[in-house]
Amino acid sequence: MTRKEFLRTLATLGIAAPLVTTLAASCNEKDETLQGLDVDYKGKVLIIGAGAAGMTAGYLLNRFGVDFQIIEASAVFGGRIKRLDGFADFPIDLGGEWIHTDPAVLSRMLDDSAQQAKVDLVTYNPQTVSVWRNGKLRKRNITRHFYSEYKFKSTTWYGFFERFIVPSIQDRIIYNSPVRSIDYSSDRVVVKDRNDNTYEADKVLVTVPVSILKNSDITFEPALPTEKVEALDSIYFPPILKAFFEFSERFYPDLLVMDDLLTRNEMFYDAAFRKEAKSHVLGLFVIDDPAQTYVDLGTDQAIIQSALAKLDEVFDGKASQFYVKGAVQNWTTEPFIQGSYSHFEENISNTIRTLIEPLNDKVYFAGEAMNLNGDTSTVHGASESAYLMIRRMLQL
């Protein structure tokens, strides 16, 4: 299956999300709760990366009283979840935005029956859908009968982690420490960052994006096994970019897909959909080849102008007429992200099995690409991979 075919299939499955969501609700649950388990692990654990997987792993280790630290390359937690405040009258997800499964997954991510809080969500099923292709705007409202997911109503993925996960781990995160090497040749694992800081631990959980491993931004001693390198090489990690535009008036449908409704590589969407917001905010989600075209423009301003020019062509100049301001999140040029999320081109389960195989029972792997339960390329999938790997690491 080629990359294009895969993306097409993925998108087709996305169209059928409501059915999948319904069916998955009963079988998507974690094996069992990790609450109330006694953990007798006295060693120290280093978690590399404070994204969804790394934070969830820390949340669990804190619960079990295990000594741990999280080493984060950037100045903030979140990884590929990030929030834009103050742009509109609602917080905006600059990274992971949609909840691609049964919303009860939020409860399973916390695995805490004593938790009393509730989170408001919106059902994200765009009612007005158009496709711009070959210079013509065509309505494709039939999509509203099939496509449905969820989004946070008044918070974001970042806000969810900030409120429910981060409080128990915030004192354990060391920021601005991009890891450059992991030496697991002796009893203790030695981790060095680019600031020449050295950390030692009994076990290490690597949760960095696949791109970082593919590009060998972190070196391993001994080197990664050949099969793991081949598995990493088989994963496609396309470029991605998100941008948001505020307009003084609304002139756009709930969802505007450029060129191809099935792959949906480039789409403009009403970011305020059902959020009870007064701001008119249009989001741009663009991945793969169309994303690279934007990325190659170089500056945020050029990207905004290019997107506005496209919208002007579709809506007879209304984009420029009503434009107020814009913001760009270029994940492709983020040095510690370098792209979007994993796309598997070959046997997914075998690839993931190879990826998550620990090194000498000392170095473990988790993240959006490493979820053997199936929901890869998602925030909740990354979180779930942390559950699976902590269970394996602590032999629960």
Binding site: S113, K118, H145, F164
Partner: protein, 196 residues
């Protein structure tokens, strides 16, 4: 057991043969009704012929009757997508039905005008302790739904038919634009009276 099966088969054949004589009247239909296959539901309806005529055709061994009719068929149905949408459909069709006594089959083309009442979950809340869903805020919307329908079926006894039906409709909305909808029915018809 063998005798029981034989009796059942002979009874079925017997009623089927009897049913060839002439079509029955006043059917009540009950069907599995789904939008785009994946949104399941149910539908009940009836059918009233307001004009009926018959033509005879010579076969090799016997003469067969083709009964044709114009009918009106009111129906009430619902279909839903768990956790997302519930739809109620009030529909009326006018159509042309053709019944072949030779094969005991019928087919019908009809056009319909429906009123679709849709309840859609716009917002909800998740209890982070147990994952339960609550505070569902539903939005009600109503739409007209003109449709083109084709049904076919077969008589299985004097009072009973099975039928299948395919429908294509357009959901009309003043503020959300039109959208296509396709439906499928699979059900039975029970005739309250038979022509004797």
């Amino acid at each position: 057991m063998k005798n029981l099966l034989l009796f059942a088969v002979l009874s079925l054949i017997g009623t089927a043969l009897q049913a060839q004589e002439r079509p029955a009247k006043y059917p009540i239909s009950l069907s599995y009704f789904s939008h785009a296959v994946i949104h399941p539901g149910m539908k009940v309806g009836t059918q009233v012929d307001f004009k009926q005529w018959a033509t005879e055709k010579e076969g090799k061994k016997a003469t067969f009757t083709k009964t044709k009719s114009l009918f009106v068929s009111p129906q009430i149905g619902f279909f839903y997508l768990p956790g997302h949408r519930t739809n109620f459909l009030f529909n009326a069709e006018v159509g042309y039905n053709r019944w072949k006594s030779k094969r005991n089959t019928f087919s019908a083309w009809s056009i319909g005008l429906g009123y679709l009442l849709q309840s859609q979950v716009n917002t909800l809340s998740v209890n982070l302790g147990d994952g339960s869903i609550g505070n569902e805020n539903r939005e009600w919307g109503s739409y007209f739904l003109p449709s083109l329908n084709y049904a076919f079926g077969r008589r299985i006894s004097r009072r009973l038919d099975w039928f299948s039906k395919l429908s294509y409709g357009v959901q009309l909305s003043s503020n959300r634009g039109a959208s296509s909808m396709a439906f499928a029915d699979l059900g039975i018809r029970y005739y309250l009276t038979t022509n004797k």
